[in-house]
């Protein structure tokens, strides 16, 4: 019997690994959208991020699963000729700021440390859930970054920079703690492709706007706003997402998205890194755009025929529960009764001080101790003073 089992083992493992890896789907989608530069002339970086924010929201990722980092407030900048709005196109058709935007990290909160803390979830208890990346091993994450960068670094707020090594280590920590299922990393900055060159964790697809020693350019300026409003690489990504991925049921793949890049239009050489992804390039190309930019969940529909059957089942459940509750109540009642009979007046007494306490500051039990220490300190000071005057006197 034992031997038989052992012989079966390889078969067992094969049969187990086969179906699990196939049916291992993601159950939630998260997006981390980061702009790293402040000041008015970097208007386009915030517009990049806000356009992408609008797109992923349109495709179904709820606000609670989008982490938006904006280091500056362009809408309320005094130089903004259109106060309260941000546009990413000179036609000013869509106000990206709108009235339904949730910025999670703003202004000076956008730092390298906070970004790495967000990714690795090393945050204090005081951090609200809306500012945390609460992902698990079934979450697909889109990480989009834009700003000013260079060879293997990206500047944050003109004050500090994140290196490609830090980013790679952060992703490794995420992978080690099973904080993502698959991750799409997009970056639009100068020499962007160097930023993902150090990654070493599996299940990551990375893409960037420009090669080493290449700049990433802005697309066009709005003369009334007075600055460039969007970057080329982001513009053509959005162009694809807006025109080809119209609704959440779209079947466009990442391969389609990356094939749509036209280097003559983008003016730099966008790169894609497939080698970390299981299945390599062919496997990655087949991934749907909606796997990262949308929120596709495999719902389980309760069919109509089944309904009556398990409704009855649940009726029984309800009855059981009622029964259980009755019994529990009886037990409780018995317990209470027991308590009542043993210490009735105690319960009564306990209730009243509780009510008073709720409205009062905590009672200080060490009141006398504190008084004594204070008195001693005063006495000590005066003794020192007396000693000083005595010594000075002669």
């Amino acid at each position: 019997m034992k031997l038989n089992n052992l012989l079966q083992l390889p078969l067992v493992l094969a049969s187990l690994l086969g179906p699990t890896s196939v049916s291992c789907e993601h159950t939630s989608n998260w997006a981390v959208l980061v702009s790293t530069s402040r000041f008015w002339f970097n208007y386009r970086h915030l517009a990049n991020v806000l356009s992408l924010y609008r797109t992923v929201k349109r495709l179904g990722i709820p606000d609670s699963q989008i982490i938006l980092m904006l280091p500056d407030d362009m809408a309320c900048n005094p130089r903004n000729a259109f106060p309260g709005t941000v546009y990413s196109n000179a036609d000013r058709a869509v106000d990206l700021y709108g009235d339904n935007i949730e910025v999670d990290y703003r202004g000076y909160e956008v730092t390298v440390e906070n970004f790495i803390r967000l990714l690795t979830d090393r945050v204090g208890e005081e951090m609200p859930r809306s500012k945390r990346l609460l992902t698990d091993d079934r979450s697909n994450i889109l990480v989009y970054m834009t700003g000013h960068g260079g060879n293997e670094f990206l500047k944050f707020q003109d004050a500090e920079e994140i290196s490609a090594f830090d980013l790679a280590d952060a992703f490794e920590q995420m992978w080690e703690k099973k904080r993502y299922h698959e991750l799409l990393f997009m970056i639009d900055t100068c020499q962007a492709n160097t930023m993902y060159s150090k990654f070493y964790s599996p299940n990551i697809i990375a893409t960037g706007s420009s090669e080493i020693d290449q700049s990433s350019y802005s697309h066009h300026a709005d003369n009334d706003v007075g600055v460039a409003v969007i970057d080329r690489y982001t513009y053509y990504n959005l162009d694809f997402l807006e025109t080809q991925v119209r609704e959440p049921s779209s079947k466009m793949t990442l391969g389609d998205l990356f094939d749509s890049y036209d280097e003559s239009k983008i003016h730099s050489h966008p790169g894609v890194r497939w080698d970390l992804f299981p299945g390599g390039e062919p496997g990655g190309r087949e991934r749907l755009v909606m796997d990262f930019f949308g929120n596709v969940q495999n719902v389980e529909v309760d069919s109509a025929e089944n309904a009556t059957e398990w409704k009855e089942d649940i009726l029984a459940l309800g009855r059981k529960i009622a029964e259980l509750r009755k019994r529990a109540d009886e037990a409780d009642a018995a317990a209470v009764e027991e308590k009542n009979t043993s210490t009735p007046e105690q319960m009564f007494v306990r209730d009243i001080p509780k009510k008073i306490r709720a409205a009062k500051v905590e009672v200080d039990n060490t009141w006398w101790g504190k008084k004594a220490i204070g008195a001693w300190a005063l006495a000590g000071c005066s003794l020192v003073w007396l000693a000083g005057t005595y010594l000075e006197a002669p």
């Binding site: 052992l6 187990l16 719902v299």
Partner: protein
């Protein structure tokens, strides 16, 4: 000897040059004066005392640097890394430290049988069970119940500590047909048998024993499969991998893990009513919750706690329109951009239940669906009676919490306790392994003492949980272990810019080392040269 003569010659030569320049000064500057090396005037010879003093000064500078400066620099730039029991942590992660076993005690109550008959039946049934069972981690153990426990029916779910260990009680009742009947409110299985099935003490097998064994196996098959699946997806050594799960069972179990929420001590339930127009603007949710939801939640109390809130939203348009919804559109039904379904209430994960007022239906006629790890949706046109919706919600809640699908409620809950403790145990063990690997992989990350304490707490409770798997004690310990492990891994101070390129280090130290280092090094070099010269001269 020769060196000395050379030196004296050099001195003489110098002397002659001095004279030359002196004469050159006396005469007007000759044309060849530029070629003559300018003569330096030697300082008066130093006294040995001042030489010694200078040596002391230099030595004391260096002594301060080496004895005070270096240790301070070392202390202040060193990263504190508490010692972690890496071997133990890896043992847990690889499943070497713990062999998860779930011994389930099943007590048999056979008042109608003679003692020796009962004993014999017990032995043969146990034998039959052992033959059927191929998965050693999940083991059913039979015992004869004590007469004192005969009144199990009155204890029910709220069984005292004494019979907490017993997973199921079998009551053998004489009857006319052979049939098994699982009681609905308590873990009791009534088995009726015909008198001729009672095994005689001579026979080694009996139909009744086989019948009991098969019934038990059927009852616990789902639980066994769940635990087997959990163990197989963890990194336990392969020889512990359970029997083969057939592909469709494996697939349904994969769906089960996809569907069920991660374990949490507290869940937050949000019940929302969304209406496309201004009416209805209220629903009788409180009474419905009181009637249908609260009792169910109360029975979950030893696994998880729940907090509840409700909301009504008028003029809510869903993400997809039409009277018949396609299945692939359903995930877009929730209008995430506009419907206020924020999970950031409190610290607990939120389970959403949505009642949408409308008369649309899904292809095939269904009117409700479950969104994995998120919640459920019910479409209902008339909300005067909330009972159907509540019943669907309670069923969806059971699935979302990961309860098995078959069996009576008490059995399902007890299975859930065991499955959850196994899951937590594996998760905490995995976290230990992640932390150990991370410690080795990132040598520049600091490890505060609290992390080490957390690791020791985790390992202690993991050990306890591993010993007490199968009961509520095990769940409690696994929960503590998992919490401590998460806290240790996500220690707040274990972050920082971990990577410093060498250029950065040079850039930081050069402004300090340049101005300070040059005089120090030059001082020692000059002194060394002077010392060598003196030695040569004295020889």
């Amino acid at each position: 000897m020769s060196a000395k003569t050379e030196a004296s010659e050099a001195l003489e030569a110098e002397g002659s040059i001095v004279e030359d320049t002196a004469t050159a000064k006396n005469q007007e500057v000759p044309a060849n004066a530029v070629n003559v090396a300018p003569k330096k005037k030697e300082p008066p010879p130093e006294s040995p005392a001042s030489i010694r003093l200078r040596q002391y000064v230099i030595a004391s500078f260096w002594a301060i640097i080496i004895l005070v400066g270096l240790p301070i620099w070392w202390r202040t730039t060193a990263i504190y890394r508490a010692k972690l029991p890496l071997d133990q942590m890896m043992d847990w992660a690889d499943g070497r430290a713990c062999r998860p076993v779930f011994p389930l005690r099943i007590s048999i109550e056979a008042d109608a049988l003679q003692d020796h008959e009962a004993q014999h039946l017990l032995r043969t049934t146990q034998h039959a069970l052992d033959d059927l069972n191929e998965f050693s981690a999940h083991h059913l153990r039979l015992q004869l119940s004590q007469p004192a426990n005969a009144s199990v029916e009155t204890t029910g779910l709220s069984a005292g500590a004494g019979d907490e260990e017993v997973a199921l009680t079998i009551r053998l009742l004489p009857g006319t047909t052979t049939q098994a009947d699982l009681q609905a409110y308590s873990p009791i299985l009534d088995i009726q048998y015909t008198p001729n099935q009672v095994p005689s003490s001579s026979s080694s097998a009996s139909s009744l024993a086989n019948y009991i064994a098969n019934t038990l196996r059927g009852l616990f098959a789902e639980e066994q499969a769940m635990i087997a699946y959990l163990l197989s997806t963890s990194s336990a050594p392969p020889e512990r991998s359970p029997k083969a799960l057939s592909p469709d069972v494996a697939e349904s179990l994969a769906r089960w893990t996809t569907r069920s929420l991660k374990y949490s001590r507290t869940y937050h339930l949000t019940f929302s009513l969304f209406t496309p127009a201004a009416t209805p603007s209220s629903w009788d949710i409180e009474a419905a919750l009181e009637e249908y939801m609260k009792p169910l939640l109360a029975s979950f109390s030893e696994i998880s706690n729940f907090t509840i809130d409700t909301q009504v939203q008028l003029y809510a348009t869903p993400g997809v329109s039409g009277n018949v919804l396609k299945k692939e559109d359903l995930s877009g039904f929730i209008n995430a951009a506009e419907w206020p379904l924020s999970p950031s209430i409190g610290g607990a994960p939120t389970v959403n239940f949505i009642l949408y007022v409308g008369d649309m239906e899904v292809e095939g006629g269904g009117k409700s669906w479950l969104i994995p790890q998120w919640g459920g949706v019910v479409i209902q046109s008339d909300i005067s009676d909330l009972r159907p919706a509540m019943l669907i919600f309670s069923n969806q809640l059971m699935s979302l919490l990961g309860a098995p699908e078959a069996g009576s409620l008490p059995l399902r809950l007890m299975t859930l306790v065991r499955v959850r403790s196994a899951g937590l145990l594996l998760k905490a063990s995995g976290t230990m392994g992640s932390l150990a690997r991370l410690t080795l992989a990132l040598p520049s990350i600091s490890i505060p003492r609290s992390v080490a304490e957390g690791v020791y707490t985790t390992i202690e409770h993991l050990r306890k949980a591993c010993d007490g798997l199968g009961g509520k004690e095990g769940l409690e310990n696994a929960r503590i272990a998992e919490e401590a492990a998460e806290k240790a891994f996500f220690e707040k101070s274990m972050v920082g810019q971990v990577y410093f390129p060498d250029e950065h280090k040079v850039a930081v130290y050069l402004p300090l080392l340049g101005p300070v280092g040059v005089p120090l090094v030059m001082g020692i070099v000059k002194e060394f040269k002077a010392w060598r010269k003196r030695r040569r001269e004295s020889r």
